[in-house]
Amino acid sequence: GGMAAALLLLLLLVAAGPGPGRADAGRERRDALREELLLSPLPTGDVAATFQFRTRWDADLQRGAVSHYRLFPKALGRLVAALGVRELHLALTQGFWRTRFWGQPPLQAPAGAELWVWFQPTVTDVDKAWKELSNILSGIFCASLNFIDSTNTVIPTASFKPLGLANGTDHHLLRYAVLPREVVCTENLTPWKKLLPCGSKAGLAVLLKAERLFHSSYHSQAVHIRPICRDASCLAVSWELRQTLTVVFDFFSSGQGKKDWSLFKMFSRTLTDTCPLASQSKVYVDISPKNKEKELLEVSPPPTSVHEAIVQGDKKTYAVYDLLSPLLFNTSRSLNVQLKWKRPQDSSEMPVPTLHAQRYVGGYGLQTGEICTLIHNTHPYRAFPVVLLETVPWYLRLYVHTLTIITKGKENKPSYIHYQPAQDRRRPHLLEMLIQLPANSVTKITIQFERALLKWTEYPPDPNHGFYVGSSVLSALVPSVTAMKDTDVEQSPLFTSLFPSSDGSSYFVRLYTEPLLVNLPTPDFSMPYNVICLTCTVVAVCYGSFYNLLTRTFHVEEPSRGGLAKRLANLIRKFRGVPPL
């Protein structure tokens, strides 16, 4: 007994011996930051700038007591660990990405606030965790996400599959909500910038100044947290936090009418130094030639390298400025990338994207209406399926028997429909369909609805503005022009590795349609007092007249004689018991 105990103690001491050694091994850096800016000129002369800041942490947030946060922000790390979140995607957007004119977006988000979350299978009460999560995020990002409740949350069954590692996709662990009325302004950008390791003081984030970012056609900031493979063998899990910000600058409103752009013209600042915590910091400029001609775009100063990649199924060329290379800041202290067009563009060259959609409300009056969605497939010979997810609030009562899908004049039956009707004041409508789009076609989907009358306490303070219907989501595997090769995620630029691709023949794209604004029958809230007075007067006059007519009788009355003195005297005489005057 004693011998065994002594042996055990000895073993423990030996095991604890290389303690300091292990501490040294644990000191190696387990998190890394990469930052990237992509400038892509759009066919209409505007320019889109996409910032991506990616913090990757080789630790398992779910298991183990992680208490030391370095680059990964503590607010989000504690959130993921405490609420059992597997994936979190939050986007705050102002404006709309015009796919028809600008091309496929790298990552689009619907107008307003969008939050979709996959929870771990260990979470027992998903709805409670969802409510707590939206409240905590509303405090972190200064957005009214606490308005997310069961009236605008849905559980999609076919869209929004996890973007990170997943073993099994039980859709009861997924929640999706959109707040189309949410406004995005500097108070949302400030906490977003504070989550970056270098803040907005060094690196690419110095360009993020609110006065320029919100003076744009489209501004979208997002936070994505997901688990990813740690290395090629994919036996361990790392956590990735991506903060993306996409902004489209309008060349009309930025003045001077010329289509030349530069960092100073867009952001009113230039890049001066790099974030010391970043392991990679690059600026990519899309200089792909269109229609296989020679280059149209000239960039200055000359880039450090040129990178070719297949992005969204098409071969593209990028000029790369590596901010960490010593050659870049040789000549001047600041980097101001300038884009100049070599020859003027004409509008006939605008390429049409393979998949684009639009949505609008039809009908007239305040009783009924119709939601129409048009989906265009402009590929000349390939057909592909698309999943359409529509979330309609309960006060627009959809009639599913009026749902029609027409392609090229014929009815198109979807391969899969999931419809969940609304419950008044509890649940919105959810309509998910998998539709095959034939080549070179336009598909029109219409569904009729009836507008409900809300209770007078349910109207917002500005009911005459209208009520928003959130954007519908189209998820599709679009056939690529050029087959994509499987490349290492760590070596390729960040904007190519957001969606995990399974095979190279098609690429995944998620598009959003326009949000709709419908008017509900609204009472006139300024009138209750006047209405009560008028109604009471009418009732008194009508009913009172009838009552008098039916019940009033006339009788003769003695004329009253004498004034006040006589009445007082009569009163005293009554007390005395003497007959009155």
Binding site: G139, A143, A166, N167, A236, P461, D462
Partner: protein
Amino acid sequence: VCTSRFWFNYRHVANTLSVYRSVKRLGIPDSHIVLMLADDMACNPRNPKPATVFSHKNMELNVYGDDVEVDYRSYEVTVENFLRVLTGRIPPSTPRSKRLLSDDRSNILIYMTGHGGNGFLKFQDSEEITNVELADAFEQMWQKRRYNELLFIIDTCQGASMYERFYSPNIMALASSQVGEDSLSHQPDLAIGVHLMDRYTFYVLEFLEEIHPASQTNMNDLFQVCPKSLCVSTPGHRTDLFQRDPQNVLITDFFGSVRKVEITTETLSLDRDAAGFESKFPEEELATEPLKYAEQLPVAQIIHQKPKQKDWHPPGGFILGLWALIIMVFFKTYGIKHMKHVF
């Protein structure tokens, strides 16, 4: 707190943001400020200069700035939320930035602006808070010892009526106009198209720009701000509930935050390995087979998805009533003795 909605009430948001800016400049951090703005002016589509809110014409001073955190915005600014913040009776899942976490040693500054009348303040054009409700809320705060001293400033028409009913100790109140008077706005900006600030808050902002964290200006100077010649209305104040003499109360007691700092000359040595936190990473178990990413659009899997099992609900009232009717009719017609044939 700004309680007005719509673009033409730009000046109320500018009022609130200028006071916010002053208290931040004088040292109060965002975690100690609850800012409520009932509408968004900076990123309003009608704002010709997005992400800015100006307080002086010719766009001299942008009070919105680059570092602003709004806690309650848009539809969240309601009388109920305001009273809940004051009294602390807030749902448990509310984040910290939306709570008033004060105790009995906190000095609280409350600034409200909007449209008001004799005895009430209008919230978002759809509801009102009366002076009685406000006084009761302050009494609740006093009973729970949620403040040490409270300074209440209100810039609305007939603002003095809002502090008439206070009855809790240690409250000092200022208003921009007396009962029966209107508070007027200062100046319009023709480029933006609306009035930018109210007069009283404009002169209070000018006064506060002179204050720095170490200044010794006291409350009597604040009472003199904006005399009738500049403000057209007569600002009022109330100090009878306040225990100290306003002469001795510094402006920075409410508008600024000065921390007590203790300077020491001895050196402290921090032990490098004391916590050993980096080495505490538990050894992770690696998966036995490689993990995979999910397929984004698994068409075959979607088509063959089993329909979701509908949760069983007990039959609703209508169905139960219908069956009860059928059974009653059956037994009425055939008599109860036939029940043995049923079972």
